[in-house]
């Protein structure tokens, strides 16, 4: 598409969807075939390049496509079921992958044939992700990986993983990392559930023992892992905190609904608090809108950290307030049994779940403390904390 007039783009896009629907009757086409065809027509993620499910358009045009397809009753790719794949792995593969890697992985990722998880954190390397000690050693055309990952959401249902591992312990910790695409069904991948605060096991421990990964599944250069991982994390922060829903779409929407449904529980003090949160959420929404406009062409940088910081705070305050507002009903939970959730829904289920799950929002994808460091050091240019872990080989670091 050459034109830059947004209205012309909209019209062209509408026509493309109409033509696509005419050529592919979703009522008679197999769901997966339909999704694959949608990908091939460039209507999967319009901001991706032609040939990889997109049309090279600004991200903002995606909504129009989703709305038009949903109105027609077409099936979607169940994006909730593959948040890490769509929000984090895909943009990273797009940015750093070879043509062959993009061809091989992006389509099944988008259609949901392959669910992805993120093998980053380790017991000793959470905030300090660059300190990971999972080793990848070259053996012929393969890498052999050994180590332990932890807090891995969705590892139990994932077919693929993005993995950060140490390929060179002799250099400084950031310089010795490489980034891999790991098959979760490879021999030596052992996934064990980790029960969490909500009672269920959404995340896992993953033990990697002599897992073979072909060199063709290394993303980016050897030793470039930190740079690639940073791109993933920047995308993650936008994916978690970037919003994109409408007014009252997040936790404040849930709280507002509760408020409207329970006039008997209202009070002057709570009302002021509610309105403050409502305003915060609305401002976050337009801030996200503006950020997405800024990012329309490029890739997210550290600025997205501020969005996630705000998102986590609002989600936690609103869900905490909802429990108080509910009073004796807020004292009731629905279920503590150990389960394997099919997907994570921050604003779904019951108020107790929402409150507890929201606690993770300021930990997952970089804690709020780390995000403040990112903002102050990388956005504001303030001097960094005194560091004892730079300019020294990883193997010689104090542990």
């Amino acid at each position: 598409m050459t034109t830059t007039d947004p209205r012309a783009v909209e019209e062209d896009l509408r026509q493309r969807v109409t033509d696509f629907l005419a050529a592919h009757d979703h009522t008679t086409t197999d769901r997966l075939e339909f999704l694959r065809a949608r990908y091939d027509a460039g209507l999967a993620w319009v901001n991706f390049p032609v040939g990889h499910g997109g049309l090279g358009l600004p991200r903002s045009f995606q909504t129009q496509v989703e709305v038009q397809l949903a109105k027609a009753g077409a099936p979607d790719n169940n994006p909730r079921g593959n948040g890490i794949g769509l929000g984090m792995a895909a943009p990273t593969i797009l940015a750093f992958g070879t043509e062959e890697q993009k061809k091989k992985f992006l389509r099944p990722l988008w259609t949901g044939e392959q669910i992805w998880c993120q093998l980053f954190s380790e017991p000793g390397a959470g905030s300090d992700l660059a300190a990971v000690s999972t080793r990848a050693v070259r053996e012929g055309g393969d890498w052999v990986v050994n180590g332990q990952k932890v807090w891995t959401s969705s590892a139990h249902k994932a077919q693929m993983a993005i993995l950060v591992a140490r390929t060179n312990p002799e250099v400084s910790k950031h310089a010795g990392l490489s980034y891999f695409l790991c098959n979760m069904d490879a021999p030596g991948v052992d996934v064990r559930p980790l029960r969490q605060i909500t009672g269920e096991a959404e995340f896992n421990e993953v033990f990697l023992t002599d897992v073979h990964i072909p060199d063709s599944q290394r993303l980016g250069d050897e030793g470039q892992g930190w740079k690639v991982a940073t791109a993933t994390l920047n995308n993650e922060r936008v994916a978690i905190g970037g919003g994109g829903g409408g007014r009252e779409s997040g936790m404040v929407g849930v709280l507002s609904k509760t408020w409207r449904e329970h006039p008997e529980r209202r009070g002057a003090g709570q009302h002021d608090k509610l309105m403050r949160l409502w305003v915060d959420a609305e401002v976050a929404r337009v801030t996200g809108q503006r950020l997405r406009q800024k990012l329309a062409a490029g890739e997210p940088g550290p600025e997205g950290s501020a969005m996630k910081l705000t998102f986590a705070r609002i989600a936690q305050e609103a869900s905490g307030m909802e429990l108080e507002l509910l009073g004796d009903e807020g004292l009731r939970a629905s279920d503590w049994t150990m389960k394997r959730p099919q997907h994570v829904d921050f604003t779904g289920r019951d108020a107790t779940y929402r409150y507890l799950r929201a606690k993770g929002n300021s930990i997952e994808g970089g804690t709020s403390e780390i995000l403040r460091n990112v903002i102050s050091e990388r956005v504001l240019g303030l001097p960094s904390e005194p560091r004892v872990d730079t300019g020294i080989a990883w193997k010689d670091l104090p542990r």
């Binding site: 905030s127 605060i197 009073g327 049994t337 107790t352 606690k359 930990i363």
Partner: protein, 371 residues
């Protein structure tokens, strides 16, 4: 306003260590966590040891009525320890709230026998109101017919699962009366609760037999003072919760390293913990003040209780939330006990009136009307 002692006496310190030792020996976080999976086997023996062996169930009951003749100060110390260990025992609901209600009954009346049973740790009682009801929110959900049979229901009642006798506030034309109903004569349905260490139940009575312990002239005030004392002393439990969260988090952050440094050495973290310390210390003072004024029968007790509930509830939640956050991923797990404290703190915040409700009440008490 008198200058009440807000420190701990030697007797109170001794009491604290005996409770702490007993709880440490009998209930570990892992056994406590089992209550979330429906295994309540820790509850009964622990409660029997506290109520009977240590004789703490009768703390608030005067000696001449069979109790230990102690005061709200000592009961508050017990609650600090029970909070610190999220112990799943009905001390607050039976030995504080229900007991306070019963103590309003004239000696020599039908409440005596029950009080003696409570004092001996042989019986356990619960006031049948939602745990969320604060002082002034005691509207009873029960009525009594001409033959003295009681019907009605109450949701989200704390302590009912452990109780063998229920104190039922009954609505009459003359006011609220309080009847005792055997738990066996009630339908007590366990509720999956936010805080399973104080599991709630829905209580339903269908023409149940009861015995009037407090008539309509006295019952309303008795229930209100039960809730008032409950709210006052809950603050000490909340303080115990907050203290555990603070000390456990400090200990962890002195040890945990990231970026080659001890995480507790980062100034951002030090300042956070310093702020939390200031809040928890203040919470301790507010809780102690509420206990001391209550024990002294001081005119300021209602204000100090509203202050304590307005302040300490939020501090306990804050401390628990900080504990989860500052432990990172491990704080989000089932295995780490932080979640037990978060759930207790959040439920306690709603119990006996939310901070917002207490602030609204306080505004009236100190003449600061909203409009």
């Amino acid at each position: 306003m008198s200058d009440l002692n807000l420190l701990y006496t030697d007797v109170e310190d001794d009491l604290r260590s005996s409770v702490r030792d007993l709880v440490a020996a009998r209930s570990e976080p892992a056994t406590v966590a089992a209550v979330y999976d429906g295994d309540r086997s820790v509850v009964d023996p622990l409660w029997r040891a506290i109520a009977g062996d240590l004789g703490l169930a009768g703390l608030l009951i005067p000696e001449e009525r069979g109790g230990a003749g102690a005061s709200a100060r000592e009961a508050a110390v017990v609650l600090e320890e029970l909070g610190r260990s999220v112990a799943p025992v009905p001390f607050l609901t039976s030995s504080v709230v229900a007991t306070t209600v019963l103590l309003a009954a004239e000696p020599g009346g039908p409440a005596d026998e029950l009080l003696a049973g409570l004092a001996a740790g042989e019986r356990t009682a619960a006031l049948v109101l939602p745990l969320s009801a604060g002082p002034g929110e005691e509207a009873p959900g029960f009525t009594v017919d001409g033959e003295g049979r009681i019907s009605g229901s109450a949701r989200s009642v704390a302590g009912a699962l452990e109780a063998d006798v229920l104190l039922v506030p009954v609505r009459t034309a003359q006011g609220t009366a309080v009847h005792a109903v055997r738990a066996d004569d009630a339908r007590v349905e366990p509720v999956v609760s936010l805080d399973m260490t104080r599991q709630l139940a829905d209580v339903t009575l269908e023409a149940a037999a009861g015995q009037e312990l407090l008539g309509a002239s006295a019952g309303g005030d008795a229930v209100r003072s039960g809730l008032e004392v409950g709210a006052a002393l809950l603050a000490s439990e909340q303080y115990g919760v907050a203290q555990w969260c603070l000390t456990t988090t400090i200990a962890y952050l002195k040890d945990r390293r990231q970026f080659g440094r001890v995480v507790g050495g980062y100034q951002a973290i030090k300042h956070r913990l310093a702020d939390l310390y200031a809040a928890v210390e203040s919470a301790g003072a507010a809780a102690r003040h509420a206990a001391a004024t209550t024990a002294a029968g001081d005119a300021d007790s209602v204000v100090s209780t509203a202050v304590a509930q307005s302040f300490v509830s939020d501090v306990a939640v804050k401390a628990a939330e900080e504990a989860v956050q500052l432990h990172g991923g491990i704080g989000m797990t089932w295995e780490h006990p932080a979640h037990l404290y978060l759930k207790r703190a959040k439920a306690d915040q709603i119990a006996f009136g939310t901070p917002a409700a207490h602030r609204a009440r306080l505004a009236e008490l100190v003449d600061l009307p909203v409009a």
